[in-house]
């Protein structure tokens, strides 16, 4: 796909529009600038990862987009509406599964319906569907403590998807899992997202925070590399790897090159191989 075609698509419909977003918060030892001048557009159905070292504000940025933390300058527009308070049409997945340990798996998945004041009974079928989609149909009546870490995170994903939000915000969702489970969950996420199915228009928009470069390369359409103190965009990569992505994708030269380019940008290392096309300077 040429850069021009990509630009056209991006103009077609924006899901998230960040305009010079800045955030400073007060601490005991004075103000700390967490985010500076973040400008980014995410189009509908796009999978965008935020990568960077800890302290680069990527998790904060995710919460600013959700309206959970106030920005101090700039603006955020989600689905055409400026974000001034927590936005309802969003699914959130965190590093910890944060399940209610006294509830069954099914009742945990149904929690958003209850919190949003909807009738949970009307979502039971959907909850069962989601559990089936993630291979948990036999665990609907189990308690979270009876599940492995990967399974708990699947439950948390089902919960985020229950109300069918157009936007998923994921904050290092697989960061606490072991490497093999993590790879497995990556594939599963792409499958649930609908990678192999319909066009990008029917997929959810995903903003995905991770500190794993290979994970970002494997999952994303675009990768936003952030640098710390204050958190700002160091560079944006278009990942042109074909979809659906498979286990073999990780073994390709392109995959390795993307990973290396991002690594170089993050660490300031001078690479002796030519960078992949598609890298763009910060806006």
């Amino acid at each position: 796909m040429t850069g021009r075609a990509k630009m056209d698509m991006r103009l077609a419909r924006q899901s998230i529009e960040l305009d010079r977003v800045g955030m400073t918060y007060e601490t005991g030892s004075g103000p700390v600038e967490a985010l500076r001048d973040i400008t980014l557009s995410v189009r509908e159905g796009e999978f965008v990862s935020l990568v960077g070292p800890s302290g680069c504000g990527k998790s904060t940025l995710l919460r600013v987009v959700a309206g959970l933390r106030p920005m101090t300058s700039g603006s955020v527009v989600v689905d055409g509406a400026p974000v001034v308070r927590p936005i309802p049409k969003v699914g959130m997945v965190f590093q910890a599964a944060v399940l209610l340990k006294w509830r069954t798996v099914l009742d945990n998945v149904l929690l958003p319906a209850e919190l949003a004041g909807l009738r949970p009974a009307r979502y039971r079928e959907r909850a069962h569907e989601l559990l089936k989609l993630t291979g948990l149909e036999d665990f609907a009546g189990k308690r979270p403590s009876e599940l492995s870490g990967g399974m708990q995170q699947r439950v948390s994903l089902c919960r985020a998807l229950l109300l069918d939000p157009p936007l998923l915000l994921m904050d290092e969702p697989f960061g606490a899992l072991d490497a093999m489970t993590r790879d497995e969950m990556n594939l599963e996420l792409l499958r649930v997202w609908g990678e192999a199915g319909a066009g990008a228009g029917e997929r959810k928009t995903i903003l995905f925070v991770t500190h794993s470069i290979p994970e970002a390369v494997f999952l994303s359409d675009r990768i936003v590399v952030m640098s710390p103190r204050p958190g700002r965009i160091a560079g944006i990569f278009d990942v042109a790897l074909p979809r659906p992505r498979t286990v073999e994708t990780r073994a390709t030269a392109e995959f390795g090159q993307y990973s290396l380019d991002i690594y170089d940008l993050l660490t300031g290392r001078q690479s002796n191989t030519p960078a992949m096309a598609g890298r763009r300077a910060p806006a």
């Binding site: 919460r63 959700a66 959970l68 927590p86 936005i87 309802p88 969003v90 959130m92 965190f94 910890a96 944060v98 209610l100 340990k101 006294w102 929690l111 958003p112 209850e114 919190l115 949003a116 004041g117 308690r143 403590s145």
Partner: protein
């Protein structure tokens, strides 16, 4: 059956120690000839526990009621105050110093005042027990209600859930194990309070039996009352343990 067998093996050391102590106790009184008014033997105490010499059932009833009342008052007021503290930070800031002050008072010393204000009878004894037992409930309720993952709080905010709903669905169930472990402490405190009240002034109850039998040197009776008191305490403690297994089975094994 196999499980029952293992359970028996697990409790066997405790049973053996208990039986051994009773044997030593019996031997100490018979072999060394300790006098009965100093240390009555187990058989004598057992006999005294069921003797018709005093109205045991009446005393047990009065003390049991005082203990139960103290426990309920402490539990209800403790949970309410703890919820208020967790609900509003302004209320919390207003209430906490006062509650800490009340807790530092030697409650036993307040007992005569309670009798002065509330008159003799079962009510002041309940109040003393409640006063001793309510503080851990307040603290644990407040802590349990606020020990929620920040991400869980965000989840509630994303769905615009009203505060009461977050309390009902997330915070209160989360606080169950904290509240129940405080109630175990309260169960013991209620016993202490009720007996202290009876020591200070009363016409009946197991505390009254101990005080009067001590002055008449009827030590077997005092021992009998002591064991009845510990049985009442054990029953209440056991009831709380069962309640926590029913209400918060997910917390089992985490604390014990």
């Amino acid at each position: 059956m196999k499980k029952l067998g293992r359970k028996f093996l697990e409790t066997l050391p405790a049973i053996l120690l208990f039986a051994g102590l009773i044997v030593v106790w019996e031997l100490a009184t018979t072999v060394f000839g300790v006098r009965e008014y100093l240390l009555p033997g187990p058989a004598t105490v057992l006999e005294a526990m069921f003797s018709g010499e005093i109205n045991w059932a009446g005393h047990i009833w009065v003390t049991g009621l005082a203990i139960f009342g103290a426990f309920i008052i402490a539990a209800v007021s403790g949970v309410l105050l703890g919820t208020l503290i967790a609900w509003s930070s302004v209320l919390g800031r207003a209430l906490m110093p006062f509650l800490v002050f009340v807790n530092t008072l030697p409650k036993v010393a307040v007992a005569p005042l309670f009798l002065l204000w509330l008159g003799y009878g079962i009510v002041p004894n309940m109040m003393i027990g409640a006063l001793i037992g309510f503080f851990p409930v307040v603290i644990n309720t407040a802590v349990g209600l606020s020990q929620i993952d920040d991400d869980m709080v965000d989840l509630g905010r994303v769905f615009n859930a009203p505060k009461w709903k977050v309390f009902a669905k997330i915070r209160i169930p989360n606080a169950y194990p904290y509240i129940l472990s405080a109630l175990k402490v309260t169960a013991t405190a209620a016993v202490v309070g009720a007996i202290v009240g009876e020591f200070v002034a009363s016409q009946n109850g197991l505390g009254y039996v101990i005080i009067t039998s001590q002055s008449s040197m009827n030590t077997p009776l005092a021992f009998g009352a002591l064991i009845w008191i510990s049985i009442l305490g054990l029953v209440l403690f056991g009831a709380v343990a069962v309640l926590s297994r029913v209400l918060a089975p997910w917390a089992e094994g985490r604390e014990q």
